[in-house]
Structures are given as structure tokens and as C-alpha cells.
């Protein structure tokens, strides 16, 4: 089976390393300039260099977002920045501006150019046009494409295609939305999006209000989960599968990357997935998710099932993440961790280790750092010790088990 790429997001170096350890073939990150998601903790050049070195150890790659829609002043320092990215081993840049693509081709020719989803590429002819005119290496397809659209585009272009498989979705065509600009003066196309689409709006027909208290009009999209479509997307020839979420937590990154890694590896074994397997994989993926999901527009659902209306909003905080393994103690068959959410004696926990099946165990006792037994720990970031019947490694993820 041919190679495909699992492309993960990271907002800082820790999350980048976590994504790589848990099986990302490539990680996309933002530098401190030229990138959307200005509120994501963006990488310094030194961070990017370290990320590239770390990725190389694992056979992974680093892509850098240079995807703002630039105003004149945004070009200052761009050439130097692109040359530096090339020198320190970045594989690709993700770009939405044709002039930035031209500059990159000229000053940093070995950087791959990936056309951002901001360009709303919805057909093969546009992909081919951008390849011919600008020598781009890959197109990130618009999230508005259906599964059948993606298949046809991929079939009819010689350029690599990349498709989103998980995470937040703009309800509007990317790059064409100025709700945030209007509401907050924060430029959505230069990293300032305030997600005003998710706010509450009153709806009027002339002078008659159609909305009521708690029945607001909203425009937020549910998050995407393409577990059901992934097998077909792989067989259609899509090269790269992208998880959205540079602002998400380390737990989210580990959990979602790990789950999709297992699913992709299973698909690449070659035998078709049964319906039951797909259900199980999807369930596993959603353990790391705390927002309601949909199939995006892959199934062309353009109505309420793909939207967050406030009556069906369930943006609860996920309380499943217990912590990361701090140290495994072989002599006592136990490990220490800093607690992130409440854990009690008797709880069933699950360990996520890179490239391994998830393992579960029951908490038989808990000790604090002074060795005193406790029934439960509610204090965040407190160091505790828990026995475990198998070996774990530093940085493994521990979460509450949900069958």
C-alpha cells in the first residue's frame, strides 16, 4: 500500500513532540509572524529548528504555516524568514497568497509549497492551474468539498491533495469571512479571528423577530470527524490527512493523533474495514473530543446536523484527561503523575502509549508525594503515585477509561 501522511497540528514544542511520538508523519506549526491563529502559542526560529531535529529522529516532517492574507507591511522580513525555514530543515510552507508563493519559489526553492485551504480549492482545474503557474506541490482542499468531490479532484490532478479529517471547521468559505473584522476589528485573515460566527444573533423578517430567548440564530459549525470517510479518502488517492487544532491541548493532540494513527495503519493493512471496526475506531477518536462533531460536508449535510444551534450545543469541558506519566518505578510496579482531573481509588484508567494498543487498569491505591495513602486526589498538578500492572513510559497519556 502506498504511503499516506497523517498531518497533526501543534501550538508549541511540547505538543509538536507529542504529535510526533504518537504517530504524526508531519506536524504543521506557525511561526511568530506570517501565520494565522495568532493566539496559538507560536514558534520561535529556535523552536522550529528543534522541532525539525526532533521530527527527523522519528522520520517525521515539519510544515510551517505562512498563510495570512498579507497587507503591504506583512512582507517585511519575509524573504529572510523563508530562507531561514529552508536552512533549518522545514519541509513545506502552507500559503494562501500567490505573491508569497512566488517569493518562496525564488528565495527558498527547496521548500515545498502547499496551497492553504484559505484559497478554497474546489476543483482539479484550479489545482492544476496553481501547479502550472506557481509550481505548487500540494493543495489543501476546501472543507466544502464532498467525499465525491475529493475523489474526482484527486483523480484529475497530478498534484498531491490534502484533506481535513478532524477538528474545527469554519462555517464560511475560508478567507472570505469578515464577521470578526466587523464585530471586533480583529482581522480573521491575519490571525485575529474572534469566531464571531459562534455568537448569538437575533433573526428578523422585516420588523418581526423570529428568534426567542435561548433559540438564537447562530452560524457555528460542528467539528469534523471523518473516521467514516477515511478509508474511501485513502483509496481515492488523497496523500495527506490533516487534523485541525493548533490551539488544542497536548492531551487532545496525543489522543486524536494516536487514534487516527491506529485507524490509518489498519486501513493500510489492506483488508476492508467492517462497519463494526469503523464504529469502534470512531468511538476511540471521540474520546479525545469535547465538542459535537459531524461528517463535515463530506456527506453534503448542509443543514442543522452540521451546525451548532444553541439548543444542541454541548461544549462541555472534557474531564477525562488524568495526566502524563512522570516516572515509571519498576521496583514497585507503579508510576507518578501530576494530576489534571479528579482521580479516585477504584477508577478504571487507560494508558495511551505511542504505537501501542491502549491499555486499561484499575486504580488500587493512591499515595501522595510523602507516601501517605489517599482515597482520591482533587488537587490539580499534585504529584501522586499509582500502581500499574504493566510498564509505562515517561510522557505516556493517562485518561479515564470510557468503554
Amino acid at each position: 500500500m502506498r504511503k499516506v501522511e497523517l498531518l497533526a497540528p501543534a501550538g508549541d514544542l511540547n505538543r509538536c513532540k507529542t504529535a510526533i511520538r504518537f504517530g504524526a508523519d508531519a506536524v504543521y506549526i506557525g511561526g511568530q509572524s506570517f501565520s494565522l491563529r495568532s493566539r496559538a502559542s507560536n514558534f520561535t526560529i529556535e523552536d522550529i529548528k528543534e522541532a525539525c531535529a526532533y521530527a527527523k529522529q522519528y522520520g517525521s516532517e515539519i510544515h510551517v504555516t505562512v498563510n495570512m492574507i498579507p497587507h503591504e507591511e506583512d512582507f517585511e522580513g519575509l524573504e529572510t524568514y523563508l530562507k531561514t525555514l529552508e536552512e533549518i530543515g522545514v519541509k513545506a510552507i502552507i500559503v494562501a497568497s500567490v505573491s508569497i508563493m512566488e517569493i518562496a519559489r525564488r528565495v527558498a526553492p527547496s521548500l515545498e509549497i502547499h496551497c492553504s485551504t484559505q484559497m478554497s480549492i474546489t476543483n482539479a482545474e484550479t489545482a492544476n492551474y496553481l501547479k502550472e503557474e506557481l509550481g505548487v506541490d500540494r493543495v489543501v482542499l476546501a472543507r466544502e468539498c464532498t467525499l465525491e468531490n475529493v475523489k474526482k479532484i484527486t483523480k484529475n490532478t497530478s498534484i498531491q491533495t490534502e484533506a481535513f479529517i478532524h477538528g474545527g471547521m469554519c462555517v464560511n468559505y475560508s478567507g472570505r469571512c469578515t464577521l470578526s473584522n466587523r464585530m471586533t476589528l480583529r482581522d480573521a485573515n491575519r490571525g485575529g479571528c474572534a469566531q464571531s460566527c459562534r455568537w448569538e444573533y437575533r433573526l428578523f423578517d422585516k420588523d418581526t423577530e423570529l428568534t426567542k430567548e435561548n433559540q438564537w440564530f447562530t452560524m457555528g459549525s460542528r467539528d469534523l470527524c471523518a473516521a467514516n470517510e477515511l478509508e474511501e479518502l485513502i483509496h481515492a488517492g488523497v496523500y495527506s490527512f490533516k487534523i485541525e487544532g493548533r490551539m488544542k491541548t497536548e492531551y487532545y493532540v496525543a489522543s486524536i493523533v494516536s487514534a487516527y494513527r491506529h485507524l490509518i495503519d489498519r486501513i493500510l493493512e489492506g483488508t476492508p474495514l467492517s462497519k463494526e471496526e469503523v464504529v469502534e475506531f470512531r468511538k476511540e477518536i471521540l474520546k479525545g473530543e469535547n465538542r459535537s462533531v459531524c461528517n463535515g460536508l463530506y456527506t453534503n449535510d448542509r443543514l442543522e446536523n452540521s451546525l451548532i444551534l444553541h439548543t444542541n450545543s454541548d461544549q462541555d469541558v472534557n474531564h477525562d484527561f488524568i495526566g502524563k506519566v512522570d516516572r515509571y518505578k519498576e521496583n514497585t510496579n507503579s508510576f507518578t503523575l501530576k494530576v489534571r482531573n479528579v482521580v479516585k481509588v477504584g477508577d478504571t484508567l487507560e494508558v495511551l502509549s505511542p504505537h501501542q494498543e491502549n491499555r486499561i487498569f484499575q486504580v488500587e491505591w493512591i499515595k501522595d508525594k510523602d507516601g501517605a495513602f489517599m482515597e482520591e486526589c482533587k488537587n490539580p498538578m499534585r504529584l501522586i503515585e499509582i500502581p500499574i500492572p504493566f510498564e509505562v513510559a515517561e510522557e505516556d497519556i493517562v485518561r479515564r477509561y470510557r468503554p
Binding site: 497587507h71 494562501a96 482539479a124 465525491e148 479532484i153 472570505r176 482581522d187 433573526l203 423578517d205 442543522e304
Partner: protein, 284 residues
């Protein structure tokens, strides 16, 4: 010579727009146009009258062949300009030898001289720069790039979605059908303004609550070499649209009297006119 361009909502408005001083008149046609102008049927357009078309929806593979046929049908009219945002349209324009009629208008994406030059160097008729720019940024681009169009008046498109947002609301809360209703507005729960919203088969678009006006800025743009000045006709009543054409025609012909402006703004004082982003730069 600077051209005054106006988008209109009906076939009947075309002739009057010309008579009042528009140099080009733009219409939306059913299917191919992704904005909230009322759509006209292609067959209703007189083939002897010069017309420009918004061919600005995104083209997906399943509808591509149909749209290419529609594109050819459009070319049977007396076409002045074709507004597009999906580059596939440019590949068709090359095939049918009409690149010199094409105007790249990606709404928000042309925000600097370099991107603008890249597109204009592809032998297009013109490019339309983003209305999210300050007046200084706008004038800088006009100085550097020829054949540039600026949107100077009207409601500005704020977002376009492939989702049927209004129908989703209707299905959830059981309202009357909301699709293709031109009277709908939304109001952010903490703010005053009413933003026109419209849904058709392409999806949903939202427009600004305010109307951009550029009476003071147009002379500056003309001085810096602007080629085309565009009046957005979406959600403008016919009277207001015609008065607006006349206002800017007088301005361009240097026949605008002080009381013309006063009369205009007094007559439409219920509308919320602003300078858009001319004096207010967005932040990152």
C-alpha cells in the same frame, strides 16, 4: 477614463442604470452568482445591451460541466466583464478567448500590491481589491497597479457559506420557509445593526449592516489612477440605487454640488452610512 460600475437586481434596472451614468452594469444570474443580488434569467437579458456578469460561485466537480456550458451561454450575450473568484473560470476564459473580459474579485483576498500585480499580469481586464483596506493602503495599491477596481458604495459582503444556515434554523424552530427571502436580517445580540442575510441554492451570505460611502475618497482614488469604481446594489431599494448612481456620476463629472450630497444623505438618513475600513485598520 474612470468607469462607474453598478450591480443591479433586475433586468428592468439595467437600462435606467446606463441612462443615469453607469458605464457598466453587472447582474447575477441564476446558479452561477454567489451574492445576494436578485438573480436574473440569462434568457431575459437583451443580447444587444452590453452587460457584465457575476460568475463568482465556487465550482465543484459535480457541477463543473453544467457551469462550463452556462459560461458558454453567457458569452452569447454582449459581455463587457465577467467577475470571478475561482481560477477555473480563468481556464475557461482562456479556452474561449475572453481572458481580457475577466475581473478577479475574490472579495477579501487582494490586500497588497504584489498579489494584485500577479493577477493583473495574467492579462485580465481588471482586479478588484479588498474593501477591508484603509484609504492609505487602497491609494498605495492604486499607485502601483493598473486596471484596479475599488468597491466604493453599498453593503459589503461579510461572509459566504455553503451551508443552508437559514433553512437549518427553520427546520429546528419551525418557522416559515426562509430561503430566498430578501427581507431577513440578523442582529448580534449585544449590538444594534441589522445585517442582511440571504440563502439560495449556493448557500448563505451575510452583508454588513452599514453602507460604505466614499464621496470624499473617490477624488483621491481618481488622482491615484483607479480604473473602475463599483457600487454594490445588493439590498438597495431601486430609488436609492438610482440616486447613488447619479451622485457618483456627478462626482466623477465634477458636477457634484454641496447640496446634492446633503439631499442624498438626508433622503436616506435611515440607512447607516460609514467609511468602512478607510480610517480604521483591522488588527492581527
Amino acid at each position: 477614463m474612470v468607469k462607474l460600475i453598478v450591480s443591479v437586481n433586475t433586468v428592468d434596472e439595467i437600462e435606467k442604470a446606463y441612462a443615469l451614468g453607469a458605464d457598466e452594469v453587472v447582474v447575477s444570474i441564476e446558479g452561477a452568482s454567489f451574492n445576494a443580488l436578485k438573480k436574473v434569467k440569462l434568457e431575459d437579458i437583451d443580447p444587444t445591451i452590453p452587460i457584465s456578469i457575476f460568475f463568482n460561485c465556487f465550482i465543484f466537480p459535480d457541477i463543473k460541466d453544467h457551469y462550463e456550458e452556462l459560461f458558454q451561454e453567457v458569452l452569447k450575450k454582449k459581455i463587457e466583464s465577467i467577475y470571478f473568484q475561482d481560477p477555473i473560470i480563468l481556464t475557461w476564459a482562456k479556452k474561449y478567448h475572453v481572458v481580457d473580459k475577466c475581473i478577479y474579485r475574490p472579495e477579501t483576498l487582494l490586500t497588497n500590491e504584489y498579489d494584485a500585480k500577479w493577477w493583473i499580469n495574467h492579462h485580465l481586464k481588471a482586479i478588484s481589491i479588498s474593501p477591508l483596506l484603509t484609504i492609505e493602503e487602497t491609494l498605495h495599491i492604486l499607485e502601483q497597479v493598473s486596471n484596479t477596481e475599488c468597491v466604493i458604495h453599498g453593503h459589503l459582503m461579510m461572509s459566504c457559506s455553503k451551508r443552508y444556515l437559514l433553512s437549518a434554523f427553520q427546520n429546528t424552530y419551525g418557522t416559515e420557509p426562509l430561503k430566498e427571502n430578501y427581507d431577513l436580517t440578523i442582529q448580534e445580540s449585544q449590538r444594534e445593526g441589522h445585517m442582511p442575510i440571504y440563502e439560495d441554492s449556493n448557500g448563505t451570505v451575510v452583508y454588513t449592516d452599514y453602507l460604505l460611502q466614499s464621496i470624499e475618497e473617490v477624488p483621491l482614488m481618481v488622482e491615484k489612477g483607479v480604473s473602475r469604481l463599483f457600487i454594490n446594489g445588493e439590498f438597495l431599494e431601486e430609488d436609492c440605487l438610482f440616486d447613488t448612481i447619479l451622485l457618483y456620476r456627478h462626482l466623477l463629472n465634477q458636477k457634484l454640488m454641496k447640496n446634492d450630497c446633503e439631499t442624498y444623505f438626508e433622503k436616506y438618513k435611515n440607512l447607516s452610512f460609514t467609511k468602512g475600513y478607510y480610517e480604521e485598520k483591522t488588527i492581527k
